[in-house]
Amino acid sequence: MRPAMMTPEQTGPDTRHGMILYMENVSVSFDGFKALNDLNLYIKEGELRCLIGANGAGKTTLMDVITGKTRPDTGTVSYGQQFNLLQHNEEQISRLGIGRKFQKPTVFEALSVKDNLYLSLKMDKGIWTSLWHNLSGEQKDDIDRILHTIGLTEHRDRPASVLSHGQKQWLEIGMLLAAKPKLLLVDEPVAGMTVSEAERTAELLTSLAGEHSVVVVEHDMGFVRSIARTVTVLHQGSVLAEGTMDAIQSDPEVKKVYLGEEGNA
């Protein structure tokens, strides 16, 4: 269908400078409300980054901008050195290797767990391929492995709609894994999970870093502490502070506007 799209997907982002994502001077406003305000953010290759911030600080909007759902009013967003993400739409961005897990788990309810993963596999996503495609042995193995990883092996043929909230979260993470993205954007991965589930998630995310770059938005400070190496604090649409968890927690500015408000978290 669109062979031209094959090239960037195959080449991947140019990360010779060690950076996979550049966001510079990005502003977004809705009806006068500045959701992002002159924001600058850089994600290193293989890094695990946590984004924290109060409601309305711009976390979800930031993800929307990266994944092409929202167009910023000003600013540049580039993936590696060569891809200007603002020129691509959602599906192209996804095929470039940026995966996203939503705040509210969104899986394909009518499809089986296995098919959810099948659709997410990294492969040519054009219509003609899809029409004639059969799973190869390798792909079947991939799916089985991911099913195992996310602990849904015995649910493989059940429709996703019958899964529990936590299981859906896992499935969505599984879908991310299947896509083998370079950059993962994970929005509140442990909401609705039990403590042990959350621990496993933390483990998984940590293990992903290195090979992938991971950006996690989370409210659960315990969880953030357990995985984070670098934390970025967003406030009113801009970066307030950036650093290790400890450095952040001792930052007076942060204390004032963020921890001060949700200090008990």
Partner: protein, 533 residues
């Protein structure tokens, strides 16, 4: 040699007799007795004889003839007028002017008049009425004379010009005088006349000027004056042509608005694909019919009564539909299409069964008939004018209602976020029923208006449903302002295209334009705002 003389004698004496008979004044009674035997060719002459008389019954007879109300009994030849007084037939003997009983057992024969007879009667009336004491009657009479200015003698005209106090009538009389002068052949008189007629938009004046323009032998000065006067008239006509188009567009827009506004509520706010919307309109129109049947004497007020009645009838039916069907289809908006389509079939057939498949006659009250003459080339029909005002009134009343009333608040809350509204203990069931009733009721009100414009029949609704959906979608679902702007835009665009392309192509162009427009703005003119989705 004798024979020709003899023949001449006979001819002459016969003519003399005929002349004598003709000259002999016939009585009103005798003339009336001749009425049954007339035809279109002989009637005007007979009427002239009536006019020569001073009988007061003549004026009444002429009026009744004009209305086609004069009959005669096929056997007794008695001439009778039959008029409807408050829906009841009334029979009056023309000679005695007394009310009589309905002649039984026969179909009364009509004293038939046709267009030429009618226009003859009108001229007879005009000549009489030009001196009438009532200025309205005089105005009508003078206007009638304008189309054929030779009917009035210069003496009478001069006389009337002197006496006439009313400025409008005076202006018309001067125009007639000027038209007389145009033919005079005297250069200065012609120039005066042309200057008098400068800016006069009467079509008859324009025709007379154009005819003058055709003539070869015209003094240069006259031709110049003539050309500039005509050019001025043409410019004005063009401007008023635009004004007229805008009026037509707005009027079409307001009909679309009325038809769509109910749907903007049931479909736009509630998300019900209400295929029975057209039938709600239809019910409103039939309500008007029923009201007029129930109160035949109150035709003038029937529309005022019909508006609340139609609102209640359609609103009630709407609530019944919501309670009995739609409430069970929550969260399955597409299936409401199926159910309401079924309901629309049932309602159509119901009306067909109850009221017959024929169109029903809904009378137009006097105040909705005719047109408001702004000037001779630009007039707006009263019914359209009232409809524009009415639909805007309904629109703003609805806006205010939704803003201020508690139901309105609840409606908006439910429309924006059903779950949240429920959480805030808005009784969304009740609100749904009331909303659907409101939308249906307004559709019913639209039906009252449409009964003044189009057929009141079982298919009435079908002809408006597609337009209504288009208007709502073009405006942006759930935006009442959008519906207003969209209806007016569609109306005006249509009316400006129509003279260029013809009505069929205009509609097609508008539709294709709409399809392209939606590609540019997938949520219509006024999309609902929001950050997510």
């Amino acid at each position: 040699m004798v024979k020709p003389f003899l023949a001449l004698f006979f001819v002459l004496s016969f003519l003399g007799m005929a002349f004598n008979v003709g000259a002999e004044e016939q009585s009103f009674e005798e003339l009336v007795a001749e009425l049954p035997d007339t035809n279109f060719k002989t009637l005007p002459a007979l009427l002239d004889k009536f006019a020569e008389q001073d009988d007061p019954r003549t004026a009444i007879l002429l009026t009744n003839l004009l209305g086609g109300d004069v009959y005669y009994h096929p056997r007794s030849q008695q001439v009778i007028t039959m008029t409807k007084v408050q829906g009841e037939r009334q029979f009056i003997d023309v000679l005695t002017s007394e009310v009589i009983a309905e002649p039984s057992g026969v179909r009364l024969r009509k004293v038939r008049v046709n267009n030429s007879v009618r226009s003859h009667i009108r001229q007879l009336q005009a000549q009489q009425n030009i001196s009438d004491s009532n200025p309205d009657v005089r105005l009508k009479a003078v206007k009638n004379l304008l189309s054929d200015v030779d009917q009035i003698s210069p003496q009478l005209l001069a006389n009337r010009l002197q006496k006439e106090q009313d400025s409008d009538i005076h202006a018309l009389l001067s125009a007639i005088a000027a038209l007389h002068e145009l033919d005079s052949g005297d250069e200065s008189k012609q120039l005066d006349a042309i200057n008098t007629l400068r800016g006069n938009l009467q079509p008859d004046v324009r025709i007379a000027l154009m005819q003058l323009q055709q003539r070869d032998a015209l003094p240069e000065t006259v031709r110049d004056a003539l050309n500039s006067t005509l050019a001025g008239i043409e410019t004005q006509r063009k401007w008023y042509g635009w004004a007229e188009n805008i009026f037509f567009g707005v009027s079409m827009g307001s009909v679309l608005l009325l038809a769509a506004i109910g749907l903007a509520i049931t479909f736009g706010v509630m998300g019900v694909i209400n295929m029975a919307h057209g039938e709600m309109i239809m019910l409103g129109a039939y309500t008007t019919y029923v009201i007029q049947q129930a109160f035949p004497g109150l035709i003038e007020y029937s529309l005022l009564m019909a508006v609340p009645a139609a609102f209640l009838v359609s609103g009630f039916v709407g609530i019944v539909i919501e309670r009995s069907v739609i409430q069970f289809l929550k969260g399955r908006p597409l299936e409401t299409l199926l159910a309401t389509f079924g309901i629309s079939l049932i309602l159509q057939q119901l009306v067909r069964t109850v009221f017959s498949p024929l169109n029903r006659q809904v009378a137009a009250p006097e105040w909705m008939s005719g047109s408001l003459q702004i000037n001779p080339v630009f007039s707006v029909t009263y019914n359209r004018l009232y409809i524009i005002l009415f639909s805007l009134t309904v629109f703003f009343a609805l806006m205010i209602f939704l803003k201020k009333s508690s139901l309105g608040l609840h409606v908006r809350a439910v429309a924006q976020n059903r779950d949240m509204a429920r959480a805030l203990s808005v009784k969304s069931n009740w609100v749904d029923a009331a909303t659907f009733g409101l939308g249906s009721g307004i559709a019913g009100v639209a039906g009252v208006v449409l009964s003044q414009l189009t057929n009141v029949g079982p298919n009435l609704g079908q002809s408006y449903i597609i337009d209504s959906f288009l208007v709502v979608v073009f405006g942006g679902v759930a935006s009442l302002w959008g519906t207003l702007v969209s209806a007016m835009t569609l109306g005006i665009v249509n009316k400006f295209l129509e003279p260029v392309t013809g009505p069929v192509l205009a509609t097609i162009i508008v539709l294709v334009g709409l399809v392209f427009f939606i590609q540019k703005r997938p949520m219509g003119l006024f999309p609902q705002k929001g950050r997510a989705e």
